[in-house]
């Protein structure tokens, strides 16, 4: 099939005429679209884009400030660099210094100068409310435990020596003073507090640190624990180290969080006290 045959085929094609209704509808729709298009693109009334000058007491809006800044920068850059074409190194350097200085000044002005009074008022209000809330809601912290004072060794009366009455007293003999012993007696009048004991369910041993296991670390750590009147451990310190900080810290941390005691008692009344306890880390036990 050549071109002529194809052209003849198309030429012989019967094309039915469009219906009048369709033609009228198409023309009407086109005219409406044309009218709408011309209405939409009608020249608008040109309004002046220049804003009225601000009065002396009126604050400059931020957009106008930026416009002024940009204009100033462009003028400076044009003056020094000839529309950003570098004529000389000195000119370009001074131009860029000026531009950088203006940027820094603008940033500082934005950070410091914009409505400082309002910000102060808000800050003060917030502070006052926060202090009131704290005073109302936060419970006072518990009093710090007293410093640990090692308990004095149990009083043991000095041995009684039977001295012969007729024996002469040597000149440099050591004489005891019964009066001083009599004076110390009132101090011991108040009964010493009973020591704390572990709770009935016992004390769970601290977990053996994995690293210490691997390195074969063993030792005995002695802890001093401050127990509240309820028997809880409020504070603790390492009295004698095991020689390995890892073991010491593991024991102390475990004691602070897990252990509970029956409190010390004085005259039948539970009191807070310091309590010493030892724990031996042994690998065969772990």
């Amino acid at each position: 099939m050549n071109d002529e045959q194809l052209a003849q085929l198309f030429a012989a094609q019967k094309i039915p005429p469009a219906s009048d209704d369709a033609k009228n509808a198409a023309l009407t729709a086109a005219m409406q679209a044309f009218a709408q298009q011309n209405t939409a693109t009608a020249p608008k009334q040109i309004t002046s884009s220049v804003t009225a000058p601000t009065t002396a007491g009126e604050a400059l809006p931020l957009t106008r400030l930026f416009t002024l800044f940009n204009t100033l920068v462009r003028r400076l850059a044009t003056k020094h660099t000839g529309r950003f074409r570098l004529k000389s190194r000195a000119a370009s350097f001074s131009g860029w210094i000026a531009v950088a200085g203006l940027h820094i000044g603008l940033v500082l002005a934005l950070m410091i100068g914009l409505h400082p009074r309002d910000e102060m008022v808000i800050t003060e209000n917030v502070k006052v409310e926060a202090v009131e809330d704290l005073q109302e809601k936060v419970a006072p912290p518990p009093p710090p435990p007293p410093d640990y004072v090692p308990s004095p060794p149990d009083f043991t009366p000095p041995p009684q020596f039977n001295v012969a009455a007729d024996a002469p007293t040597p000149a440099n003999a050591i004489t005891t003073a019964p009066a001083k012993a009599a004076e110390a007696a009132p101090v011991m009048a108040k009964a010493p507090p009973s020591p704390a004991r572990a709770a009935k369910k016992g004390l769970a041993p601290p977990p053996y640190p994995i690293e210490s296991k691997r390195l074969g670390e063993e030792g005995v750590v002695e802890l001093a624990l401050y127990l509240t009147a309820e028997g809880k451990v409020q504070e603790g310190r390492i009295e004698t180290s095991s020689g390995f900080a890892r073991l010491d810290q593991a024991a102390l941390k475990h004691a602070m969080t897990n252990w509970k005691f029956e409190p010390c008692k004085q005259e039948g009344k539970a009191i807070a006290c310091w309590h010493k306890i030892k724990f031996r880390f042994q690998l065969k036990d772990s």
């Binding site: 198309f10 019967k14 094309i15 219906s19 369709a22 023309l27 086109a30 044309f34």
Partner: protein, 182 residues
Amino acid sequence: MLDEAALIRAAQSGQCAAFSQLIGRYYDTIYRFAYRWCASRVDAEDITQQACIKLAASLKQFRFEAAFSSWLYRLVINCAKDWQNSQRRHRGEELTSADEDAESQADAENSIYLQQVIAQVAKMGEQYKEAALLVFAEGMSHAEAAVVLEVKESTISWRLHEIRKQLQLLQSAQPGSWETFK
């Protein structure tokens, strides 16, 4: 009576009468090409209406850099493609049906044959169909079709050459008659 350029300028300036006269002058051309594209009177009327609306909306974009008819053909081809895409979405690929308005049996056979040719060309791609319709149906030269389709003249020649090859292959594969379909 205004000449074409004056009429277009008047319509571009917003004169409704000029636009009405312009669209009345070209309505049949648009409809004819639309019918050859879709082979259905109703669909051709739809395409023509869309083309008229689009012409109203975009007439101001015409800058007299080419013939108005070339620009208008480009616009109608775009509308026809849009219509074809929408029809594919709505009812699949059943677009190749002979028009029911053919009067006589000979016209019907000719129409079927032509639609098969067009369908075969369309299978090669829409750009081949565009080139075939503009050159064989509208009687344009390769250069004029190249202006409408915004391609090189050699591209049009190459497309028509490929169309010829394809149609010859089809003829050799099915000697004697074309398969009729309803």
